[in-house]
């Protein structure tokens, strides 16, 4: 039995290594004096145990395609005007651009112009009715997919930037399918804030306030309950102090509805946008309007950096911006031309602030001094740094687990594991005596090895994952049951103890192997298909079964061999 020696030491060594790797996961805090002795790697808890949020975000990339086609439509029609072809209508539906021109216009010329705008834009059909020639343009499918893919990539990048700067430990942001993104935020407390940061388009615009216009005053008689008209002193273009009217309300819904109802009366080239005002003394919010020139003078894509600062006097937060060279140039020009007027800074259709331009600003620096909380200022700065989303997004899936539920799940999972394990251990010991005890030892080792391997790979443990461990414990003893039953059979046929043990291990091996493979196959399929928690189940099941080959077959074999030879035991009860 020379061969036994190395096997014996292999078992001892693997037990020590297993305990070494598993230990950091078992004890919460290792004393600092011996901390350097251990790896930092340990089992991670999934969102369902740790608490946290899982989002699936759907990027509406169809809308990007529509936007692209609308832009093409504009360029084509302006070029057609240059060629003296009058454009009657430009329409975009789904992925088709439709341009109507007078019947008899030269289709070849139009086709050439379209190709100048985008080389792959082709006429897909034409039709004539009532003096009108309707031409439909389409992009080839590969180009459409390309546009959508790029939109998704950009959205992924933007969201990743935003999340990284939000300050979550170990966030996950990955692509999922053709038009979706999965975001996981472990341990996050304020889900709604994270969601609003992710969801916002992040489009920053600068527009002039139309202060000389008295349109708002004309609304005074029509105001519904809950909306009031107020006046503020502003300077007009010539520097004179004038009174400018605006609407105010405590209800965003009421104000938006009213603005929607008077949409058609707003002067040409103007628009009304809302500002949200936070009152720190009461913690409430009110809403007011601005009458703006609709033209966008400058966009947020020219911003280099944005930081939160606090005003030294009142501690009020503001956001300091710096533009890139192009942005700085445009900003200098705008401010130079409009000294004395108010410039509104708008994010996703909401006015953030509308300061008066005191002097021409060169050097590309600006500040946004809104009436918001420091959290909002923080999120605003993140949004400006991370850039805007190419397409609107929708939350397609949200799963949030509160930390207390996670802690409950851990407690219950541990309870089930301990009770399940103990029941099996007692049963095996009673039914198979010493052989059962050896199998029990293997079972405990199996559990330690599962944790060790999962720690080593920093695998994620989920609630179904804990169920997987419990289940594996039940299944792992299968190998021992097979072996011991086989030994009993061999004993009955008159073999000696030693021979029966050898035959038992020998014969049971193929059955153990084949039967475990099928379980691993189902686990692999589950891993492929499943989402987070289910993946955790597949992982523990697979690891547990693979480990059981070593513990339930090899380790028990070595131990019983040792007992029968070195330890001089005459028999091992089965």
């Amino acid at each position: 039995m020379k061969g036994l020696n190395w096997k014996f030491w292999l078992v001892i060594a693997s037990v020590i290594i297993g305990i070494y790797f598993a230990l950091p996961s078992f004890i919460g805090e290792i004393p600092p004096e011996i901390k350097f002795l251990f790896l930092k790697k340990r089992v991670r808890f999934g969102l369902d145990l740790k608490g946290g949020t899982h989002f699936v975000i759907q990027v509406q990339s169809d809308k990007v395609l529509k936007e692209v086609l609308e832009r093409f439509g504009k360029s084509i029609s302006s070029k057609l005007e240059e060629e003296k072809i009058g454009v009657k209508e430009v329409k975009v539906s789904e992925d088709v651009l439709e341009i109507s021109v007078p019947a008899g216009s030269d289709v070849d010329v139009i086709s050439d112009i379209a190709r100048q705008v985008h080389p792959l834009l082709k006429i897909s059909s034409t039709s004539v009715s009532d003096e009108t020639l309707k031409i439909s343009f389409e992009l080839p499918p590969s180009e459409k997919t390309d546009i959508k893919t790029k939109a998704l990539e950009q959205a992924l990048e933007t969201i990743r930037n935003r999340i990284d700067q939000f300050g979550v430990v170990e966030p996950t942001v990955v692509k999922y399918g053709e038009d979706m993104i999965v975001v996981q935020l472990p341990g996050i407390k304020d889900t709604e804030r994270a969601k609003s940061l992710i969801k916002r388009t992040g489009l920053l615009e600068f527009k002039l306030v139309d202060d000389g216009n008295n349109f708002i005053e004309t609304l005074a008689d029509k105001l519904p309950e809950g909306i009031t008209i107020q006046y503020e002193d502003v300077q007009d273009e010539k520097g004179r102090i004038v009174q400018s009217a605006f609407l105010r309300s405590g209800s965003l819904t009421k104000l938006s509805k009213f603005i929607e109802s008077i949409k058609d009366e707003i002067p040409q080239g103007d628009e009304i946008l809302i500002e949200e005002i936070y009152h720190p003394e009461t913690g409430t919010r009110t809403y007011r309007t601005y009458l703006l020139k609709a033209e966008t003078l400058l966009k947020g894509d020219t911003i280099d950096d944005a930081r939160v600062r606090f005003d030294t006097q009142f501690g009020q937060p503001y956001v300091a911006l710096s533009f890139n060279s192009i942005g700085a140039e445009i900003f200098e020009e705008i401010t130079g031309k409009n000294v004395g007027r108010r410039l509104a800074i708008i994010l996703d259709g909401r006015v953030k602030s509308a300061p008066r331009i005191k002097t021409k600003i060169s050097g590309g620096k600006a500040i946004i001094e809104g009436r918001f909380t420091s959290e909002e200022a923080h999120d605003l700065a993140i949004t400006l740094r991370a850039g805007s989303l190419p397409a609107p997004i929708e939350i397609a899936e949200e799963r949030t687990v509160g930390p207390s539920l996670g802690a409950d799940s851990i407690r219950k999972g541990m309870m089930a594991t301990i009770i399940g394990g103990v029941l099996i251990i007692i049963f095996m010991a009673i039914y198979y005596k010493l052989s059962g005890l050896i199998a029990d030892l293997a079972l405990i080792l199996n559990f330690i090895f599962i944790i060790a391997i999962m720690s080593l790979f920093e695998a994620t443990l989920t609630l179904p994952g804990i169920a997987g461990i419990v289940l594996t414990l039940g299944m792992a003893v299968d190998a021992n049951v097979l072996i011991i039953e086989r030994i009993r059979e061999e004993l009955r046929s008159g073999k000696t103890i030693r021979a029966a043990f050898e035959a038992g291990y020998d014969r049971a091996l193929s059955a153990i192997f084949d039967s475990n493979v099928t379980t691993v196959v189902s686990a692999a399929i589950l891993f492929q298909f499943g989402t987070g928690p289910i993946k955790g189940f597949a992982v523990t099941l697979t690891v547990g079964i693979i480990v059981s080959f070593f513990t339930a077959v090899f380790v028990t074999h070595v131990i019983s061999e040792y007992l029968l030879t070195k330890a001089g035991l005459k028999e091992i009860s089965v």
């Binding site: 889900t191 929708e394 939350i395 397609a396 899936e397 949200e398 799963r399 949030t400 509160g402 207390s404 539920l405 409950d408 219950k412 999972g413 309870m415 089930a416 594991t417 009770i419 399940g420 029941l423 099996i424 049963f427 095996m428 009673i430 039914y431 005596k433 609630l463 179904p464 804990i466 169920a467 419990v470 289940l471 039940g474 003893v477 299968d478 049951v481 097979l482 039953e485 059979e489 014969r507 059955a511 084949d514 039967s515 099928t518 379980t519 691993v520 196959v521 189902s522 686990a523 399929i525 589950l526 492929q528 298909f529 499943g530 989402t531 928690p533 289910i534 189940f537 009860s573 089965v574």
Partner: protein, 303 residues
């Protein structure tokens, strides 16, 4: 020391001969399952149907009727249930994707108005849009089918095609009965339950393989013995192991069922049903079925 034995070593049950009786029992169980699946159908959980779920735990023990009253003005049709005793509730609704946010906000506002902010805790929120639901449903079907095919291929490679067919018949038998139990006991079909079904698939074939392995060995050793006797004896000799293994596994499953908490409870229940069905079908259906379908001569010739 005396050996403890549940199954006597000289057990001699004529499995192949009694197959018609077992078949009868199985057909009855399958009919009951199909009947329930046909009449009641499967209740899809959130993962597959899409919709929203909010789990709320209140500080004081509030009656479910109070929660209903607090939420009566919510503009979505609600399904409110108690969860693991008093003071904890699950509020469910079918909500289209673009309304998911509104749903959550409305529930929160109404709860805050009635019970006061801070007097309750949102323990869990799950919102699944229909697109994700459809996607998961498709993948779920795909995973079950690919599991069945993978098992068939594996058994065919390692043993022979006929045993593969027998094992797959037993496997489908187990899955139908498990689905029947899911339908009868109103369990919501979701991802966790699907994981249970796939585990049952793996486990069901596991037992069949042990028997096939023994048949393979006996054919080698006891040449000339009629196939019918080999099958009977292979099943009898592995019977003790089969019963004991399912016993230890069921100990684990029962521990999960009782102590694992709400989410794991349904999962463990389906496993319980599936494992019992799986063990039964592996012993009495899988190999005898293959024997009858392919005939004694055909079975022997293959060797």
């Amino acid at each position: 020391m005396k050996i403890i034995q549940i199954i006597p070593p000289d057990v001699n049950i004529k499995w192949v001969d009694k197959f018609p009786y077992f078949l009868g029992v199985s057909i009855l169980l399958i009919l009951i399952s199909l009947f329930s699946l046909g009449i009641k159908g499967l209740k899809y959980g959130l993962d597959f149907s899409g919709g929203a779920l909010i789990q709320v735990k209140t500080e004081r023990e509030i009656e479910i009727s109070d929660v209903r009253k607090a939420l009566k003005n919510v503009s979505f049709p609600l399904n409110i249930q108690n969860f693991e005793g008093k003071g904890e509730f699950i509020i469910k609704s079918e909500v289209p994707q673009e309304k998911l946010e509104d749903f959550k906000r409305e529930i929160m506002e109404n709860l805050e108005r009635t019970f006061g902010g801070g007097s309750f805790e949102i323990r869990r929120v799950e919102m699944v849009g229909p697109k994700v639901g459809r996607d998961l449903r498709r993948k779920g079907m795909l995973s079950v089918i690919s599991a069945i095919i993978a098992m068939l291929i594996y058994i065919t490679l390692r043993f022979e095609f006929r045993f593969g067919i027998g094992a797959i018949i037993a496997l489908i038998h187990d899955i139908i009965i498990s689905l029947g139990a899911i339908s009868i006991f109103n369990i919501s079909m979701d991802l966790v339950i699907l994981a249970a079904l796939l585990t049952i698939a793996g486990y069901s074939v596991n037992d069949t393989i042990i028997i096939c392995d023994r048949i393979r060995e006996m054919r080698r050793k006891e040449k000339g013995k009629p196939e019918r006797e080999i099958i009977n004896s292979a099943i009898n000799r592995t019977l003790s192991r089969t019963i004991l293994t399912v016993g230890t596994t069921l100990l684990a499953v029962i521990a999960l069922l009782i102590f694992g908490g709400g989410v794991i409870h349904d999962f463990a229940f389906v496993l319980l049903v599936g494992f019992i069905a799986g063990t039964y079908s592996s012993i009495s259906i899988a190999v005898p079925f293959a024997f009858y379908i392919f005939g004694e001569k055909e079975m022997k010739k293959k060797r």
